[in-house]
Each structure stands twice: as structure tokens, then as C-alpha cells.
């Protein structure tokens, strides 16, 4: 019976991953970074990393989960949780509905239970197709619940961040998700929980200034833009052009804010190594 559900979950994940990940065969894909065209086959084979310049294009949450999890281990958490409109912001419910239909997501984060090479963990993956993966109450609540779930079940927590910042339409409630998620991570870590924060392109604003910066281990994808203020705001503020590579993952590594940069093809290997290193002797 368990076997049956595992297979079903696996098919569901594969279906959702295909829906957001795959490029129709025969089409050519232009890289948004270097402009070079590649065949759909090459693009998909490299997990949507440009075969010419190595640009790591943003990918959907289910697609990413399908790349890193052991087959059949994906079990979504809080999959029915829906966003709300706490300010009663005009037009927001309609925007949410339209984005939900377009992406097949309820909001900008998918949380799940899963394994990497047999090591169980709680996962959260943000998806920038959903209103720039901005953090509203639904994102804050799901990340918080994921941390609490990991704490209750003594599991490591792995979050893939991507975000344009706060969800403006949810105003102050959006801001408060920074406090809520940071507090939940802090609690989890005080109890000995391992939190691995993986930053992907782009991670900015309130997500950078809360849970995404609090990892015991800090990792990022190559070329990811990571910062508090966006580059345009900074350029307007200081009245000068920012240097090439500013706020990119490589720049953060140089300035001491990351442990390592992990290419997309190596997430499974690196995460599995880290999970194994924390399995014995650690307090989780």
C-alpha cells in the first residue's frame, strides 16, 4: 500500500515538474543571460543551465524538487494552504487566482518531506514565477510550519530561497513574516536542528533579511543575485553604476557570506554529503 502511494506521489511530482520544467521538443531556447540559442534537448539535459555560458535560469519549485529528491520520497506538506488578503487590497484576490491558474501553485513556496540518497529532511522551495516569489503570509506560514515540523520530527531543514522581497499587497502582514520565520528558524536551531539555506536567483529584500540568511550552512547557485536592496534602488540612491558582478553569488562568497557555491548538477551530491555529516554525533 505504501508502495502504491509512493508511486502515485512520484507520478504527481513528475507531472508537475514536467509541466513547469520541460521545453517542448524541437523548440530552440534563447539564454536570457548570453542570448545564445540552444536546442530544447540540450537545455533540458543541463537542467536549464545554459549549455553555452553556464547561466542558471530560475526553475519551478516542483521541477527543482524532482531534480534533488530520491524518486518516490516526495510528500508535500500543507499543500492545501491558500493565501489570504489581510489588507483587503483591491484586485489582489483576482491576481492570486490568475497566478495560481498560470503556475499550478497555491503561492510562492512548496514545502515537502523527502529524502536525498536515503537521508530524510524537510524541504522548502520558492518559485519566482509566483509574483516574484514575494513573501506574503502564505509563504511565511509555510516556511514557519516547515521549521516547526522539522523540529517536531528531528529532521534537518533545507530551504531553497528565491524572492523579490515582501508581498506589497499584504503590507505590514508581509513584513511580520520576516519576524515570524526568523523566530521559527532560531527556535529550531537552538534545539540543535540543522538548517541548510540554498540561495537561488534572485534572492532579495525581506527574504534575504530573514530566514534565508540564517542557515547553519549557506550555499548558493552560480551567478545568483543575492542582496537586501535591489541593484536599481542602490544605483538610484548612490548615483553611480554598480561594478560588474555586484551582489552575485561569487561576490558574496568573496565577502564571507557563503560557505560554497553549488552548480545545479551537484545539489544532490553536496546536500547528501552534508546530511550524512550531520547524522551521527549531531544533536538532531
Amino acid at each position: 500500500m505504501n508502495q502504491f502511494f509512493a508511486r502515485r506521489r512520484d507520478r504527481l511530482l513528475t507531472y508537475q515538474a514536467m509541466r513547469e520544467g520541460k521545453v517542448a521538443a524541437g523548440r530552440r531556447v534563447a539564454c536570457r543571460n548570453c542570448g545564445a540559442e540552444s536546442s530544447a534537448l540540450d537545455w533540458n539535459r543541463s537542467d536549464q543551465v545554459c549549455p553555452k555560458c553556464g547561466w542558471h535560469a530560475p526553475i519551478g519549485a516542483y521541477y527543482r524538487l524532482s531534480l534533488i529528491l530520491d524518486p518516490g520520497t516526495f510528500q508535500e506538506l500543507d499543500e492545501k494552504l491558500q493565501p489570504a488578503n489581510p489588507l483587503g487590497f483591491p484586485g489582489y484576490p483576482a491576481k492570486l487566482r490568475a497566478t495560481q491558474e498560470e503556475t499550478g501553485l497555491n503561492d510562492a513556496v512548496v514545502t515537502a518531506l523527502g529524502s536525498i540518497e536515503g537521508h530524510r529532511a524537510v524541504f522548502g522551495v520558492m518559485d519566482s514565477r509566483f509574483i516574484m516569489a514575494s513573501m506574503g503570509t502564505a509563504v511565511g506560514e509555510k516556511v514557519t510550519r516547515a521549521a516547526e515540523y522539522a523540529q517536531r520530527h528531528k529532521l534537518p531543514l533545507i530551504l531553497f530561497a528565491a524572492s523579490g522581497g515582501a508581498r506589497m499587497q499584504e503590507g505590514i502582514f508581509s513584513l511580520m513574516q520576516m519576524a515570524k520565520t526568523a523566530a521559527a528558524i532560531q527556535r529550531f536551531q537552538e534545539k540543535g536542528g540543522l538548517y541548510i539555506s540554498c540561495l537561488t536567483h534572485p534572492t532579495t529584500g525581506g527574504v534575504t533579511a530573514s530566514f534565508a540568511s540564517l542557515g547553519d550552512i549557506m550555499l548558493a547557485e552560480p551567478g545568483a543575485l543575492i542582496g537586501f536592496a535591489g541593484p536599481r534602488v542602490i544605483e538610484q540612491t548612490i548615483g553611480e553604476k554598480l561594478p560588474e558582478g555586484f551582489q552575485r553569488a561569487e561576490y558574496l562568497l568573496d565577502h564571507g557570506f557563503l560557505d560554497q557555491i553549488v552548480p545545479r548538477s551537484q545539489w544532490r551530491q553536496v546536500l547528501s554529503q552534508l546530511l550524512a555529516l550531520h547524522e551521527k554525533g549531531g544533536r538532531t
Partner: protein, 274 residues
Amino acid sequence: MSAYTPEEKVKLARNPERPGTADFIQALFTDFFEQRGDRLCREDASILGGIARFHGRPVTIVGHRKGKNLEENLTCNFGMPGPEGYRKAQRLMKQAEKFGRPIITFIDTPGAYPGKEAEERGQGEAIARCLALMSSLTVPTIAVVTGEGSSGGALALGVANRVLMLEHAVYSVLSPEGFASILWKDSSRSGEACAVMKLTAQDLRRGGIVQGVLREPEGGAHTDWEATFRTVDAALRKELAALDKLSPRVLVQQRYQMFRAMGRDLPAAGEEEA
């Protein structure tokens, strides 16, 4: 209560004649000893902090400082801290916890500084650490929003057991200008933004974001500093007395639950959207 529109309140909250952190320290506390520097890189004057006595008992104070004239404004970067300011705040708060001192913060900032060096030295990380630290402190903490509280730069000093607001202060996810610029690509529509953001003390009290609204004198806090000081003093005494009854464990628990509850009640699929 008052007949001011949200837009008028934003103007009142930004009035340079309003008492700021330095003024509250001078009026409400004795024996103030300023502590400077983050012990890592530099001193950031946009965060003012130190030890003082509040009705005889030692407390730690941390607040945003905008400065009172152009020269001071420049030194204080108009109240926009960099990571050094937030790391100084963390240093002072950890020390307060070590010595069992309650912490009182004053919030008044247009936001954390969006500058090149600030990013280079980890503005996001510094704010994140402030939030995590404040959420776990075992001493009583009270935050007072005295002017404008914008974005994560304000919240970094706001994860307290009690969050109080002056009647005409505002507290929001971003300045109304920034909000309009992001949502409508037009910062001149900030007036419109004020109307939909629900950034007034009264709105936030209803939303459960702040626990107390402190009455300002007729015309705003800047018209009668003494009256404002009396109100804030009385509120701090009352809240501190209540928090004194709680054990360190309960203080942490109460604070966690308070922020945990913000945006918790979300509909499951099938339910009607709010």
C-alpha cells in the same frame, strides 16, 4: 480618535520637530551611558544605544537616530542604518540579556540604507540576525514606534514582547513612496498608497500588529514634548511592570506566540478568500 488621514499622519510622523530617540532618552531616563561601535568594523551613528536608568533600574536602550539639523542628519545618515548599526544593536541587546536588563527600543527610520557598502557587509544578514536574536531574548523587551517605521530596517528593532505606537506614528512594509514605486511604477502616487497600506497606529492595533496606541497632544507630538514624554513614560512603566511578572521562559514564549500568530489563519483550499 483623530481626524487625520493616513497621508497626513505620514507627514506628522516625519515632522523633524517630533521628539526622537535622543530626546526620549534625555527626558525619560537618567545616567545614560552611550555605547558605540559594533566591535567588527565601525560605529554607525544612525543607531543610538546604551545603558541608563528608568525610574532607578538599569535598562538598555536602542533606537534609530535621525539627527536634528543637517550636520547631524548627515552623520546619522538620516536614520538609515547600515549593517554596523544592526550589529551594534545586537551587541547591546546580548549584553542586556547577560546582565538581566530589560530592553527598550525606539523605532523611527525611513528604512535600512540601500548602499553599496551596506550590501557588501551584509545588510540582509545583519537584519536577519537582529530578528532572530530579539525573538529569543530572555529579558523583557518593549518597542515604541515614535515616528516612521519603514521596512525591515524598522522591524529589526521591533521583535519585542510589547510593541507600542504613538498615535500619529506609522509602521509599514515600505515607505509609501517605495510601495507606489514597486506596485504602480510611480512613486508620486504615494498618497494613494497611504490610503491602502493600513499603516496607521489605529489600523495596526486592529490588525494585532501593535499592542498599544499612545495618545499624542492635540496637533501631534511635536506641539508638546512634555505631554508626549509623560504618556510614553507611563506606558513604559505599566508594560514593564506587567512583563516583570513573567519568567525568562515565558517571556520568550509570549513573544514567539505573538509574532507566530501574525498571518497564521489562512484558508485551506475550497474556503472563501478573505
